[in-house]
C-alpha cells in the first residue's frame, strides 16, 4: 500500500502510449476480423468496345472476370473473392458517375511511315497538319513522339535510327507550329513493333514514328 503512487500525477506521460497502443491494436483487429473494407471490381468494355480479362486474387482464392459487367467483391485479403455476378447499369452509373465523367478523352494517335532510313512516305507527310491541329485543341497537354524500326540490322543501328526518325518528326512539327513545351521524344528501336517479327525480317509497317496527342 505504501508503494501506491499518487494517482493522476504520472498518468499522462506513462499511460498515454498504452492507451494509444490499445487503440491501434483494436483498430487493427477490427480491420482484420470484420473485413470492413468492401471492394468491388468490375470488367467493362473500353472506348473501342473491347473487353479484356482480369483475374482477381486474394490469399484465399481467385475469380476471373471475362464478360462485360462481370463483377466480384472482396471483404478481406484472407477471404476468397465472391462468385461472379453482373454489375447493374444503375450501380455503375451511380457509383462511378464522377469517375466516368472525368475520364480523359482517348488520345489521338498518328502513325507516320518511312520508306527506309529517315525518308517519310508521301502519304505520311500529309498527316502532319492533322497532328498540328490536334495539338492546338485546348485540352491538348502532350505530344509524344516515338521512333520505331523493323528487326533488320543491329540493335545499336536501330536505336540510333529510331531516334533519328523521332527527331526528324519533332523538327517537322516544331516548324509547323506545335508548341515545343508539349513535345517529348523517345526511341523504341525494334522493341515495340506494330507487327511482331523474328529478328532479321524486313517489315515496312514497323518503320514508323507514332505521335500520340493527349
Amino acid at each position: 500500500m505504501n508503494n501506491q503512487r499518487p494517482p493522476r500525477a504520472e498518468c499522462p506521460s506513462a499511460c498515454k502510449p498504452v492507451i494509444l497502443l490499445f487503440g491501434l491494436l483494436f483498430g487493427l483487429l477490427l480491420i482484420l476480423f470484420t473485413g470492413c473494407a468492401r471492394q468491388s471490381i468490375i470488367l467493362v468494355p473500353d472506348a473501342n468496345g473491347h473487353v479484356g480479362k482480369a483475374e482477381v486474387s486474394t490469399t484465399a482464392g481467385s475469380q476471373t472476370l471475362e464478360k462485360p459487367g462481370d463483377m466480384t467483391r472482396t471483404s478481406g485479403s484472407s477471404k476468397p473473392p465472391s462468385a461472379i455476378t453482373t454489375a447493374s447499369p444503375e450501380y455503375i452509373a451511380s457509383t462511378f458517375r464522377e469517375v466516368l465523367a472525368i475520364e480523359p478523352p482517348p488520345a489521338q494517335t498518328f502513325t507516320l511511315m518511312f520508306e527506309s532510313g529517315t525518308k517519310l512516305t508521301a502519304d505520311s507527310q500529309k498527316i502532319i497538319p492533322d497532328i498540328v491541329s490536334a495539338s492546338q485543341r485546348p485540352i491538348a497537354i502532350s505530344v509524344s513522339i516515338s521512333g520505331h524500326t523493323d528487326a533488320t540490322g543491329s540493335d545499336k543501328l536501330n536505336d540510333a535510327l529510331s531516334l533519328d526518325r523521332a527527331r526528324q518528326i519533332k523538327s517537322l512539327l516544331l516548324q509547323s507550329g506545335v508548341k515545343p513545351e508539349l513535345i517529348s521524344v523517345s526511341s523504341h528501336g525494334k522493341g515495340n513493333p506494330l507487327i511482331p517479327t523474328p529478328d532479321g525480317v524486313a517489315e515496312p509497317r514497323n518503320r514508323r514514328v507514332v505521335v500520340v496527342v493527349h
Binding site: 468490375i42 482480369a54 483475374e55 485479403s77 465523367a101
Partner: protein, 148 residues
C-alpha cells in the same frame, strides 16, 4: 586546395548525368481535373492541376468533391472520383531495353483503369493492387470501388 577544387569539379561533371536522368523522369500527366486534388511526393504535397507531371512513387489523392484523370506515357489511363487515393508504385516503359514495369496501388474511393501498351508488351510486369486483392489484367478496362 587546387586539387580539391578539381576533384569537386570532376565529381560534379561525373554526377550530373546521373542526377539529370532517371529519378526525375516524367511518367505521365494529370489530364483532367475538377475540384481538389493533391500529389504527394518525397514528403511534400503539391497541388494537382491539369498538365501536372507525375513521377514514379507519387501518391495521388482527391478531395471531396474532387476528381481527376491521369494518362501515363504508355497510355495507361486512370481516373479517380471523390475521396480517392492511389499510388504509382513502380513504372518503367523502355521498349528499347525491353524494360517494363507497372505497379499501381489503389487505396480507396472509386477508380477506373484502362490498360496501356505495357500490358500488351509485357502483361506479367503489371501489378494492380487493392487493399484486399491483386488483379492480373489482359488489355482491358476496370471499375473499382474501395469502401473504407
Amino acid at each position: 586546395m587546387k586539387t580539391s577544387v578539381c576533384t569537386v569539379l570532376f565529381a560534379l561533371l561525373l554526377s550530373t548525368p546521373a542526377i539529370a536522368d532517371p529519378p526525375a523522369e516524367t511518367i505521365g500527366h494529370i489530364q483532367t481535373i475538377e475540384g481538389l486534388a493533391t500529389i504527394h511526393r518525397d514528403g511534400s504535397t503539391l497541388p494537382g492541376k491539369a498538365g501536372a507531371t507525375l513521377l514514379r512513387g507519387d501518391r495521388i489523392r482527391t478531395g471531396k468533391p474532387g476528381a481527376l484523370g491521369i494518362v501515363l506515357t504508355d497510355d495507361t489511363t486512370i481516373s479517380l472520383g471523390s475521396g480517392s487515393e492511389m499510388t504509382l508504385v513502380d513504372y518503367a516503359f523502355e521498349p528499347k531495353e525491353s524494360k517494363f514495369a507497372l505497379a499501381l496501388q489503389f487505396v480507396k474511393g472509386t477508380l477506373s483503369y484502362i490498360s496501356g501498351q505495357i500490358v500488351k508488351l509485357a502483361p506479367d510486369k503489371v501489378q494492380l493492387q487493392t487493399p484486399d486483392a491483386t488483379i492480373a489484367v489482359r488489355g482491358t478496362k476496370l471499375l473499382i470501388e474501395i469502401k473504407e
